[in-house]
């Protein structure tokens, strides 16, 4: 037996199996009875590392195979050994049976490449691919005793190739679908740029020409003029260095519309560093650019708004950690974001208020509600101003607080204005109260004067009646005493009259009865009226009017009162036998009247208060002079009511000059 099986020496596992098998029970019979051609063929395949098998006998198709073929058989090994090939490959016999038959009948080999076969070798159907040949084996008689097969399973290669094709197709489809990615390849040596239809279209070049290749300059014509030089320089750099080319630029289509593109590629250099090819991809990023631009604009708009509003503005995380302030905040506080972020804002709060503010906001952050608070904030000048802060929580789409936004409005002016308004209100109230009191006073003085006059009038009449001897003759003593009583009563009436006159002048409702009147005539009237007064003191009055008349719109009665007072004073406070000078001239649009006496004069101190109410100046003549101290007060008030003025120049012991100006 051993000797018979020498041809099976080696042959790996299959060699062992063939040797171990009892072939006597098979159609081939014991090994020793096998034709030499079979033995040789079996020896040949089992010693080959390439997958091979033999089918012996045109009908029996007894199967021999080598170790390399075992994997192809799967679970069909080892049963397949010595079994009919048709039985082993029943599921694919329709595919391979005819091929085997052809070999036996024609004696010609068969070659199949990547033949798809749906095998069941692992307990399930699977699509496999095989490249194989069937070759005839002639026996000693020259007939075809069997066939052998050398085969290789190409399933993985075929599937890989199929997948590659599919992904290429998908890529193509997606490129087409997006319409925004183009491919180019620039053959630099020959200056031919081959580009796909999408690329060509972006650069307004006929796709057919682009597919055939055009000089790169034709593509550059579409570059936006403002970008051309820059991109050209970037291309040159890439061509010198072989580094990645990446550039964003604008292309202008034939219709004038502008698109933004992103071009990426890498220039291939030869061993000497010369550029040879420049392939790449271009992507239409117009939409991205627009979005970018819109975002940039939105950001700019936000910051131009946020940084230019008068309010200080801020944003905080949900827990109150401040993340952003507007420029106004920094301008006002003179701080930086580093100092201010988080809880840094406490630094610019007033120490007296910070505890209250912190307590408040810590509670506020926890509530999901807008809040308002006022507090003083320190400016960069160190001064505190009051602000009103208003904060609002901003929610995400799930309703959670995303952030807080807030503004601080400067209410310092408002606060001060309110305080001012309150003060104004108080002042108005006080003024109204004073006006009311003043009115009451005027009414009181008016009524009181009337009521005081009536009994004094009765006294005057009855004493006058006695003195006039209407009630019979009087002794000289009686007449003298009564005269004293009469004069005393006259003084009382004079005081009442003066008080009433003052009340009238002071009254807010006092109105002048202005009429065009000759001022020169008024002065002359007054002098005549006081003629007796002057004569009693042997005083002479010299009037020097520069004009015969000067017409002014005045209340004649009040102006008379003015000059009577001034002239009476001039007489009263001058020594007997002196001269009183009056001059009347027109100056600008005014009548200027000066009354100069050579009297006692008025000291500087008294000149200040001589026009005040109830002022009587002590001097060597004042004891001999009566008065209520109201005369010059009226003079000044009445002249001012006329929009005129009075001025006193005087020196003690030398005399006084009163200068009256009245508008004409």
């Amino acid at each position: 037996m051993i000797k018979d099986q020498d041809f099976l020496a080696g042959g790996g596992e299959m060699g062992k199996l063939i040797r171990a098998k009892d072939w006597s029970k098979t159609a081939l019979g014991p090994v020793g009875s096998w034709p030499q051609s079979l033995k040789t063929s079996v020896s040949l395949i089992i010693n080959s590392a390439f997958p091979m098998f033999i089918w012996w006998g045109e009908t029996e198709l007894v199967n021999f195979y080598n170790d390399a073929y075992m994997a192809i058989l799967g679970k069909k090994h080892p049963k397949a050994l010595g079994t009919s090939g048709q039985e082993t490959w029943n599921e694919i016999w329709n595919d391979i049976g005819p091929l085997a038959h052809k070999v036996f009948t024609t004696g010609k080999p068969v070659f199949m490449k990547n033949l798809p076969l749906t095998m069941n070798r692992h307990g399930y159907d699977e699509l496999t691919h095989f490249t194989f040949s069937y070759s005839p084996i002639r026996d000693e008689s020259g007939e075809i005793g069997g066939m052998y097969c050398a085969c290789v399973e190409t399933t993985e290669e075929v599937i890989a190739k199929q997948k590659l094709g599919e992904s290429e197709e998908r890529l193509h489809l997606s490129l087409n679908a997006s319409g925004s990615v183009g491919l180019w390849n620039w053959d630099i040596v020959n200056d031919r740029t081959i580009a796909d239809a999408r690329f060509a279209k972006l650069y307004s070049i006929d796709p057919k020409r682009a597919a055939a290749g055009v000089p790169v300059a034709e593509f550059m014509k579409a570059f936006h003029p403002d970008d051309l030089l820059r991109v050209q320089s970037e291309i040159e750099t890439a061509m010198k260095t072989g580094s990645e080319f990446r550039s964003e630029y604008r292309v202008v289509s034939k219709d004038g519309s502008v698109s933004w593109v992103l071009a990426r590629g890498r220039c291939k250099l030869d061993t000497k560093g010369n550029p040879i090819q420049f392939p790449g991809v271009v992507i239409d990023i117009t939409e991205n650019k627009k979005a970018e631009e819109a975002l940039r604009e939105a950001k700019e708009r936000f910051s131009s708004l946020a940084d230019n509003i008068q309010n200080l503005a801020w944003m905080a995380n949900p827990d109150g950690w401040i993340t952003w302030y507007n420029q106004r905040w920094y301008d006002y506080t003179g701080t930086t974001l580093d100092e201010m972020q988080g809880w840094g804002w406490k630094k610019v709060h007033h120490p007296d208020h910070i505890t209250k503010v912190t307590d408040f906001v810590q509670k506020a952050w926890k509530k999901d509600e807008p809040f308002e608070l006022t507090f003083p904030l320190r400016g960069k000048d160190g001064q505190y101003r009051w602000f009103l802060t208003r904060a609002v929580p901003v929610h995400d789409k799930d309703g959670r607080i995303e952030r807080w936004i807030g503004t601080n409005t400067d209410i310092e002016d408002l606060k001060q204005r309110h305080a001012m308004e309150e003060r104004m209100e108080l002042l108005t109230e006080q003024r109204n109260a004073l006006l009311k009191i003043n009115k009451t006073k005027d009414e009181f003085i008016g009524l009181a004067s009337h009521q005081l006059r009536t009994p004094a009038t009765a006294v005057k009449q009855y004493i006058g009646l006695l003195i006039g001897e209407f009630a019979g003759p009087m002794t000289s003593d009686q007449t003298r005493y009564l005269q004293i009583a009469y004069d005393s009563n006259e003084r009382e009436l004079g005081v009442i009259n003066d008080l009433l006159k003052t009340a009238q002048i002071d009254s807010t409702k006092y109105k002048l009865d202005k009429q065009s009147t000759d001022v020169v005539a008024i002065v002359n009237d007054c002098v005549s009226h006081l003629q007796l007064t002057f004569e009693q003191k042997h005083q002479t009055v010299v009037i020097s009017p520069a004009t015969a008349s000067l017409l002014a719109a005045v209340d004649a009665r009040e102006i008379k009162l003015v000059f009577v007072n001034l002239l009476e004073n001039a007489s009263k406070y001058s020594y007997p036998g002196t001269e009183i000078k009056i001059s009347i001239v027109q100056q600008d649009s005014h009548a200027k009247i000066t009354i100069t006496d050579k009297g006692v004069g008025v000291s500087k101190v008294n000149q200040q208060r001589i026009f005040d109410k109830f002022t009587r100046v002590d001097n060597e003549l004042s004891d001999t002079v009566t008065g209520t101290g109201l005369g010059l007060y009226w003079v000044k008030q009445l002249l001012e009511l006329h929009k005129g003025s009075i001025k006193l120049t005087s020196s003690l012991g030398k005399g006084s000059t009163f200068t009256v100006r009245l508008p004409l």
Binding site: G446, H450, R453, T454, T457, A458, K460, Y462, G464, L493
Partner: protein, 122 residues
């Protein structure tokens, strides 16, 4: 024929002294205590002169002048004789037809005699 003077005055002591002074001059004197009485007397007596106080109960002097038309009494002089001295009142009374506006307290008996003589044309 004696001239007739109507005194319209509420103060008795003033009525008396006017009567005393003026009667020495031979005037016929009638006295009314207020404006209302004054109106009746004016119609009844047709005086040559009315000496009219302003501040009076029942009807004051201003109301008195408002009630009459001075043109109906061409022979009568109306003299407002008062201790009110504001120019506003004076203007108002003159517009109502008064012939004079005299401050009472400025008049001694002789002054009154002079005034009445002037007004009654004696």
């Amino acid at each position: 024929m004696s001239k007739c003077v109507l005194i319209v005055e509420d103060e008795i002591i003033l009525q008396d002294v006017y009567k005393l002074v003026l009667s020495t001059q031979g005037y016929v004197i009638h006295v009314a205590n207020n404006g209302q009485e004054g109106l009746q007397q004016l119609k009844a007596r047709q005086p040559d002169m009315v000496l009219l106080d302003l501040f009076m109960p029942v009807m004051d002097g201003k109301r008195f002048l408002q009630k009459i038309d001075v043109a109906d009494y061409p022979q009568t002089k109306f003299v407002v004789y008062t201790n009110l001295s504001d120019t506003e009142t004076e203007t108002e009374m003159m517009e109502l037809g008064a012939d004079r506006f005299i401050l009472k307290s400025s008049m001694a008996p002789q002054d009154l005699i002079g005034l009445v003589a002037e007004m009654t044309g004696r």
